[in-house]
Amino acid sequence: MDDSSLLKQFVAEAADLVESLQADLDGLAEQHAAGRVNPGLLNRVFRAAHSIKGMAGMAGLEEIRDVAHRFEDLLDEMRMGRFRPGPAAVAAFSDVAEGLGRLVAEAGRGGGREAARLVALVESLRSEAPAAPEEDPAGAVDLDDSVRKTLTEYEEHRLLENIRERRPLYDVRVAFDLMAFDTGFRALNDELTSTGEVIGTLPGVGTADPMQIAFRILYATDDPPEVVGPRAAAHGAEARLISHYPEAAAAGPVAEEETPAGLAAPSVRVEMLELGELALLTQRLALRASELISVYSGLAPAAGLTARQQFDLKQQGRVIERGFLELEERLVDLRLVPLGSSFARARRLARKVALELGREVELVTEGDEVRLDKAIVDHIAEPLAHLISNAVDHGVEPPAARRAAGKPEAGRVLLRAESSGSRVVISVTDDGRGLDAGAILRAAAERGLEVPADPLSLIFEPGFSTAREVSSVSGRGVGLDAVAASVRAFGGDVGVASEPGRGSTFSLNLPTTLVLVSAFLVEAGGFPYAVDVNHLSELGLVERAAVSDSAGRRTVPWRGERLPFVSMAEMLNLPPRPEAGPRLPCLIARAGDRLAAVAVDRFVEERETLVKTLGRFGPRLKGVTGAIDLEGGRVALLLDMPGLLAGQAAP
């Protein structure tokens, strides 16, 4: 094989390896954030770096080999527990992998500066997270010294890690017939690996039967002996619990504070769905308790309870309600994950787009630690990717244009997350050319669109931002209407601010969690509905006679101006109800920067409540984002108020 063929083969194979390495690093970052890294995954990442090193060495690409070698060393230190990275270091692993990807793509064409940067990055990570001493497990495990001495360094480390996590350890002993030991052993090993971790396999004590071969397997699992015993017995093996952890030590809260890198806190994995179900179950119990207390309170006078006893009954009721609320909040809190991994992916994407376009763009992130519901984090991946790509592609000018504008050649994109109560705002700010408000206004006039107070918000309108000619003059790519629709679909909203020549900021205003919202309950058309309070400005009563109708557009006076007016029942296509009193209860609702008065039958109350999903078809239903359980088996749909108002005729 000649040099060029060798190089091509290297590029093809190494690119695949780097891609799987990046995917595994994303998984590693998520597991790290969740508190327990699967050693199998870490081993796979380590092996990928090792393979890239070997392949680069074979191809004579010393710079790539050097970077991969140092990265491999660092990962090995992590495997052995001598390097305990924090979230920032784990996120930087992706930068290293991405850099390796660039070096591989440009293999043979020189990448000295990038290689030197990556070497410096790896070395800086190593120095930022020094080695942590391993805990001495003396007394915790009933394992012979002679056996301990046969463990490899890695097996010894895994043993210590499991001890540190207070995970039950078992000595599994088994003997197989020589003629068929491979299949029997594989079956047992597969079973143990799928239910826990096989730390090491050791030769067993010889059996009386010369046609048999014995093994001892050091096995860690969260399962208790009554589960592990039958599991082993199904394969003809015996399992003995060899770990004995003091009760107090297992619950010690101090360890959590001092745990380096958040890796060692004892934890169990729980499905997201399970957490949601638990939170919902808690809410159901809370509703039942509330109803029960109400019944008891009603019966109290007839039962001859004294005033003091009735007071105590109510007090106890409140204590129970508060307890349920706290439990519910804590369960919901468990669904939240930091944005670090998403931001790391955004960094990779920005670099990729910049590389493709030949631009120099620095992506800076702030608020990696801000936490958001895992389901929302997954949901915003695509909208966020749109905004990042747009910022790099259309926001930041080409180098020549930046030079001409007196700007540094390298553009800057800031990805920022900020938590505010029950909301999180994620913004993407570029220092590019900014939006052309004049072009947007001209395009709006051509389409006969009414211009809102903030004309820039028109770029989120369906059919506006996607129009080719508008894109070219406004400097924005396609898909902003899709971004807005996607974010609004689960109770979020979008915004934009821009300054000509200075850049633009796109912001996503998101609920912290999909399951718990502050909702305002109303009745419309005789049915209960809920509105996220973040979509409300205020509540008010409007004189029925003050509603004016001009060419089908109804408005009402409100605080010195006229607001568009709509009946919620009409908006939801519900049958009309007989008209009630002279004053209409109205929600003054927000839709972007606009306000509208939405008339309802009556106000009910505001409550912090869990929102249930509507299943697989839910995201495709228009005008609703979820549903809320009410007393008596009733349901209130949580309305997508910005989406519904956007669907109304322009005021």
Binding site: E277, L280, L281, R284, G525, F527, P528, Y529, M571, L572, N573, L574, K612, T613, L614, G615, R616, F617, G618, R620, L621, K622, G623, V624, G626, A627, D629, G632, G633, R634, V635, A636, L637, L639, L644
Partner: protein, 141 residues
């Protein structure tokens, strides 16, 4: 056993059928129910339970055949009226609640029986043929 005799089983067998095929090879159990004067059949293995209908929250501008949302066993269900055709969906006496992440419940006037039929053949009840429903195609969104 293709072309074998059809048999009627009790509603109690629905759950057994939904937990695994309790029918012979080549046959399948179908739950037959009526809605709007017509008979419908759905694979019994897809049925989670049958309940009396309850409060249904109307959806804004509902897609065709979708009655609204109800809560059954703690999960929100999209209630589908198979008899709606092009007209409005109507509330009925029972829900046939289906398994799966689509979270669907069918609005039914009456649940008739669970019958076993050869695969690929329509279910029949009292000499009338039931329209076989595919849960994946029930909601047109």
């Amino acid at each position: 056993m293709r072309g074998g005799p059809r048999r009627t089983v009790s509603l109690e067998e629905i759950l057994a059928a939904s937990n695994g095929p309790a029918v012979e090879e080549g046959m399948r159990a179908m739950l037959v129910f009526s809605a709007g004067g017509r008979l419908y059949a759905v694979d019994a293995a897809a049925v989670e339970r049958v309940t009396e209908s309850r409060f249904v929250a109307p959806l804004p501008s509902p897609p065709r055949g979708l009655l609204g949302v109800a809560t059954v066993t703690g999960r929100m269900r999209l209630v589908v009226d198979p008899a709606a055709g092009g007209g409005p969906a109507e509330p009925r006496r029972n829900f046939v609640v289906l398994h799966g992440d689509a979270q669907l419940a069918l609005s039914a006037d009456r649940v008739c029986a669970v019958v076993t039929v050869p695969e690929g053949e329509p279910a029949r009840y009292e000499d009338r043929e039931a329209e076989t429903l595919d849960p994946e195609r029930l909601v047109d969104l």
